[in-house]
Amino acid sequence: MFTPNAARLALILIASLAGAATGSAQTAGDTRLNLGAPLPADQLAGYFAIPPDGRGLPQGSGDAKAGRVVFAEKCAVCHGDKLEGNPQPGFGGDKLVGGRGSLATDKPVKTTESYWPYATTLFDYIKRAMPFNAPGSLTNDEVYAVVAFILAEGHIIGPDDKINAAELPKVKMPNRDGFIPDPRPELSLYK
């Protein structure tokens, strides 16, 4: 099969046979192509993805009081004044609170409050993709504040709790232990 390695080897052979090898010397021991430009850390400053340990959370902070204002102004139209969601055409924002205790019933209600395992995901997602009509437009303080508001409305944190890089990873979501790894293929299918 014509694998990348074989292709590279062939290139090297052709290049050296033709005596046309220019640039840095390549040997079979070095399988790199030396393509791509160095990427200094400062060029990565605008990018983020926040895992549960909070690595990469920015400076800033907010509480539910400030978050209520942000939410009313920038989120409620699509997610409802009471975070109940808005299924109307053109909106479609999810319900963000409620449903706790419903997951094992015949009418499971999956919301940030009832279903999400990590609070860090809330920061990451709102900063990256919300508000839907102006994604990525919130300041870090606004994101922390609106996260605090959603968590407080879901009774996951207190109404006066401050959320910042140190506090957010410590928030224990109600469904934190509700997830299991993929058990497929399902063994009973082999009976």
Partner: protein, 442 residues
Amino acid sequence: MRPVSADDAGCPCRDGMFAPRADRRRFLFAAGSAVGAASAALGASVAVAAEKAPPGAQWFDVPDDPTKVQGRPVAADGGYGGRSQFETAVRVRFPTPNENTSWSLTPLAALVGVITPSGLHFERHHGGIPTIDPSRHSLLVHGMVGAAKRFSMDDIKRMPSVTRRHFIECSGNGLTEWKKPTAKTVQGTHGLLSTSEWTGVLFSTFAREVGLKDGATWVLGEGSDAAVMTRSIPLEKMLTDGMIVYGQNGEAIRPEQGYPLRLLLPGYEGNTHIKWLRRLEVSDKPFMTREETSKYTDLMEDGRARMFTLDMEAKSVIVFPSGDMKLPGPGFYNISGFAWSGRGRVQSVDVSTDGGTSWFPARLDTPAEPMCAVRFSFPWSWGGEGAILQSRCMDETGYIQPTRQQLLAIRGDHGPFASVYHLNAIQSWAVAEDGSVANVHA
């Protein structure tokens, strides 16, 4: 959410080969075929039909005898061809409230062969389709690497490439079908499946360019759309067959499919194949993004949810005959469909015409390649009696496509859509004595 289906939109997905509600253009096209007689009665509507060509086509007047007049001049299409004005199959959007986070389904019954035309590849976007200038697009690879790098599109096209055929299936394919038969057509039940020839560079090639650090186990892929879509992918998968692709079916990938660059993870659920790919971050743990926690997790009846259910398990579906078609009468029919598995090659496909009581081997019409759909067929002589058509796929691991009852017994039938994702059950189409075909649970 109200249970909805693609059919709610009054969609042209009813446009089956023998669809009872075929549109006017279909009648024109069908002249001489089983429904051709009907076109005579519709003579007056020819002019009406001529006013509008279907998407991807241009309307031209139809001469009485094409051998007696010159056709169109060479290159009159500007140098990029469209399809025939008589070909009407289109993708149909699922009626989610928000058009920017929505999906459209491939008209599987209208396809021939195994490759999905790029313009009919299903779509799932979470923030619309971005417009990206490839000269300003690059791929950043960083995190637990020796030296982080930025790759321009030019860099990527200089790298050794691979070209491979793979299906992509959204794990939400068929989510309306858990509890009761809902969608009328195979476009509605199975249309989140498409197969393409993909061209691009293996992730392992990028890995050597940047170097991987010990302890790395996951890679985050990030898109350049308004959703800035992210998923965490096991590094093992990335190094096995993960591809960064820029080509689809012999040309650049379509904007809806991630132009200019997408991640391609053979056999993994569609959402992980990050489109408009701009960044890969190597890590020692998954990031637990919204799409791998809030969504794309499978809530079981006991209240626990499965996470990182990435493989698409073996599945198949008959597309001819299929829901909402009407067989004109007893006689020969070449039953035909697709089979696929995210765990390797399709090994075999069986077909039943009596609702799963007896099974017969189908013919594989296209080569069985890893994580690629195959087209299968089965010669059927229909005597005019009621029949239930089913197909079942076995993949090269020996896994056999289960029934819906088997899956419900394991995962539960709670809520309107049970566990939502990863329904790979055997599909049943009931053929009535009058030849009409319907989606049923048998």
